[in-house]
Amino acid sequence: MAVLSNLSFIGRARPWISIVMAACCLTMGCGPTEVPKEIEAIDVSSGNTILDFTLLDHGGKQRRLSDFRGKIVALFFGYTMCPDVCPTTLSEFVEVYRLLGSEADGVQVLFITVDPERDTQRLLSEYIPAFHPRFIGLYSTPEETRKVAEAFGVTFERVKSRSDSTYIIDHTAYVFLIDAAGRLRLKVPYAQPADSLVKLIREIRE
């Protein structure tokens, strides 16, 4: 029953995505992002990319990425059956919030599931807040999920188990850091420690 009502909600919500290449340098003067030498991260500021999407959060409420303007957004893709990468990244961001203290109010973690068929709203609503009550899990239809992922250059593919009908999902594990103006600034590879993530977050704060 819960699954059926979730699906119908997706139908009504009509998620959408738009990509705006904004000429923000002219108006806002964003330059390249200084990445400390010892930290692995890819500066994508020069693209001046502002992405937006509408997805459903783990409470079933529509959320646009642009709703979080004014905050730094740390966004990544994953799925709850992921035993390694996803809980590792989520746990690292729990530590990031702790290290930031009151500054953490200006940072929003968004987790977009690449497995909406199995990651129901119910499962996401248990799983994501178990890490931190302020983290938000997002989901949509498989089609919309793919569009959002493509906009970020994220790929994911199902890999079938040899023994039965179950599957795992290979997926891009970058964390995307988006500044308070909504500009995509940094792509951070998997397994960066919390203190490095904190430095990067402080770097892109206006």
């Binding site: 390694d84 990468v85 590792t88 746990s91 499962l123 248990e126 290979d170 594990a173 397994a191 919390a194």
Partner: protein
């Protein structure tokens, strides 16, 4: 928070006879994250060492319908996870089943795994002569947001 790092010394040493020689197998620091009521899968991590070269060929648990060994690879930012049939445990080195490397995947988990509980696991290992041994392991269930010590996060390929 330091205490969120995994730090426990759950050691299990099993000794068994292999062709008149003794092989000493030690499985330490076995852990997995707590699950939510609806979650049915999770990865278990541990350190395994042996005085003789062995191969890990099987795992079972009364709390999970199916167990597999998985290997992770970072392929230019895409994390690829693959099922593998076995994991070799070379003699006298510690083989880490750790994030970004190997794990035992528990699927069809039959009950919610609460922080502080443990999951019984039986590992099956064989030596070069085909001698087979089952080793019981208690996997400690740690808080979901437990961080992985950083030295275990990176693996060169």
């Amino acid at each position: 928070m330091g205490k969120k790092f995994i730090a426990f010394g759950l050691a299990l040493v099993a000794t068994f006879q292999v062709n008149c020689a003794y092989s000493e197998v030690s499985v330490k620091d076995a852990w997995m994250r707590a699950t939510t009521p609806t979650q049915t899968a999770g990865g278990a991590f541990m350190s395994i060492s042996s005085s003789n070269g062995l191969t890990l060929v099987g795992a079972s648990s009364p709390l999970a319908g199916r167990l597999e060994f998985h290997e992770m690879r970072d392929d230019h930012g895409i994390m690829r996870m693959r099922r593998i049939e076995q994991i070799s445990i070379p003699a006298n080195t510690v083989t880490q089943l750790a994030p970004n490397a190997f794990h035992v995947m528990l699927m069809d988990i039959k009950q919610q795994l609460l922080e502080g509980s443990s999951v019984p696991l039986t590992l099956t290992l064989v030596d070069a002569n085909g001698f087979r041994v089952d080793i019981p392991v208690n996997v400690k269930v740690v808080p979901v947001s437990t961080r992985v010590p950083h030295e275990h996060q990176h693996r060169e390929w």
